[in-house]
Symmetry: C2
Subunit: 334 residues, 2 copies
């Protein structure tokens, strides 16, 4: 049976999720693809750490080891931050590997270029996992709403912010108490700065902008507000009016001009994002034919994010012939 | 430029929606497909009725006229009821035409056979529009959740029922008053029997069952209840408890056994379908990797249903080469 060889970059929550998902869905993957999926190698940062990884998988701290694996087909990138993710993906694409990434900070900035480069090299790039975790928003837009012209998107794209706002309202916690609870439950990062200042949601919004409009607004012109200035009193007051604070990233195009904002908005009970609670993400899409549709689901987490990456993986290999990898080295003459 | 020739069967709300959608999105369709989309013919029932149709389109009451169009590629079927839709689609498939249908009653019963027959004939069958109108639930399951094993679905699949329940609660209307309002607004059919007795939602649930589990439960063993027995008093009582009546079609598989029900259910405010109001449809999917995701949107209507059909259309022609239609007639010798 044909074997599809994959490597994982990163073995944190998401990387381990992909590993688990492939192991637990091996039979089903074989059915869909008619091929065996083999995790050939895992790139880690700290070689001292104990991990539960099969003994026959190459575990390395050196990316060159990954690139040198014969007949590697695809790389799952689950590293945090712009670098080294960006450099690794460029190198992988140049070697003719398909890539699947969950790295929103990197992809918001370099996604357009990586897509361009992957087309030149004839490989595919999956980035469903960069935005809204398990919610299949990227491929819904790419594949299911092709004729529809999307005019506007509104989304709750950061689960931590939404969790904090929900807890402040429901349980009358202060901002600090709600944040601490989010950290205890493992929703917020150890450093939650980008969750609560709106930058995480902003990155996802820029990825959506590129996808929908083929371009991004000038970053410096986008108003980005987080949830840190919202007080318990404001939340109580809005609740007494039957309203709720939601942290909403929205983007629309009017004429040739893209308007994007990321900020807390007070919404009424008839708003499509009013009922999105806790760590959930949701995105409302307004489009020319369908009108408005809303997708809701887990915006983060081990298996939901792995779900997005594995579904990208299957999409790539259903459409692409599984060929021997063409190594781009030169045979030197004597 | 290549031309894709299409015919419409039926020119009611949905048929006219497809016609409008193709006309208004012609440039965009050309971009996506690299081909011109031509509506070559429209099958109607009543030749006396006035319609706004371009003069160069064949308008006929005879399906044979449609089948005899040279180089026809695809049929959009938007007829109500099992027949003549089923017979027409069989004939179209046998002639090597792709088909796209919005006919849920027919497809719930004959969908499996039509899919089988279309595979034999090497043509595609799109049925996104049969279930939940503009909400892209069929292709989300088919294409975006392939690795995920779906274990359960709960849906509000009939907009009229949901509208009536919403109006009974919000505006304290009686069942009859709410139904009349639904008819005035054009949400309910002239004969709303199958909307309010649960059979419409049942058909859609059976289509989902076939898609997810590859089979349907024995129809006679599925409990089907509509909303006709729900009183204003019951609705007031549940509301006083912070709960709501929702008409929910649900299906799950435990071991080898499929469990399906269609009935009003009292849900709490943390239920994923609690906030679905008015004519909206919504479907919650529980799956092995992603957990739970919910899709919400317009469950019916001219353009939303046309949206589903046009997106199916593009999906078919992006994947299939546009070839000369092979007419299956025999050249007889002398």
């Amino acid at each position: 049976m044909t074997v599809i060889k994959a490597a994982l970059l990163g073995f944190g929550t998401v990387g381990e999720g992909v590993y688990t998902a492939i192991q637990t869905h091996q039979t089903h993957l074989r059915c869909i693809l008619g091929a065996e999926v083999e995790i050939a190698a895992i790139l880690i940062r700290d070689s001292e750490k104990e991990r539960k990884i099969d003994a026959d998988i190459l575990v390395t701290t050196n990316f060159e080891d990954i690139l040198n694996i014969p007949d590697l087909h695809v790389i799952f990138e689950a590293i945090v931050g712009e670098e080294p993710g960006y450099t690794y993906l460029q190198q992988a694409i140049d070697r003719g590997l398909h890539v699947i990434t969950a790295n929103k900070v990197m992809f918001a900035k370099y996604g357009e270029y990586l897509i361009h480069r992957s087309r030149q090299k004839g490989v595919k790039i999956g980035f469903e996992a960069t935005t809204a975790g398990g919610v299949p928003i990227i491929r819904t837009i790419q594949q299911l709403l092709q004729v529809n012209q999307i005019t506007k998107i509104q989304g709750i794209l950061n689960g931590t912010s939404n969790f904090i706002l929900t807890e402040m309202r429901k349980r009358k916690l202060s901002f600090d108490e709600a944040l601490e609870l989010a950290q205890q439950k493992g929703y917020a990062e150890a450093d939650p700065t980008n969750d609560i200042n709106g930058k995480d949601a902003f990155c996802k919004l820029m990825i959506l902008s590129q996808l929908i409009f083929g371009e991004q607004p000038n970053w410096s012109e986008v108003g980005i507000d987080g949830i840190t200035s919202i007080t318990q009193e404001q939340i109580e007051h809005t609740e007494s009016l039957g309203q709720r604070y939601k942290h909403i990233a929205q983007i629309s195009k009017i004429g040739n001009s893209i308007h994007a904002t990321v900020k807390p908005i007070v919404v009424n009970s008839d708003h499509s994002l009013y009922s999105i609670e806790g760590v959930e993400n949701a995105i409302s899409i307004e489009a020319s034919l369908v009108g408005k549709i809303t997708l809701q689901g887990p915006g983060a987490g081990k298996l939901p994010t792995a779900s997005a990456m594995i579904e990208d993986f299957v999409d790539i290999f259903q459409k692409e012939p599984i060929h021997e990898r063409k190594l781009e080295y030169q045979v030197q003459g004597l």
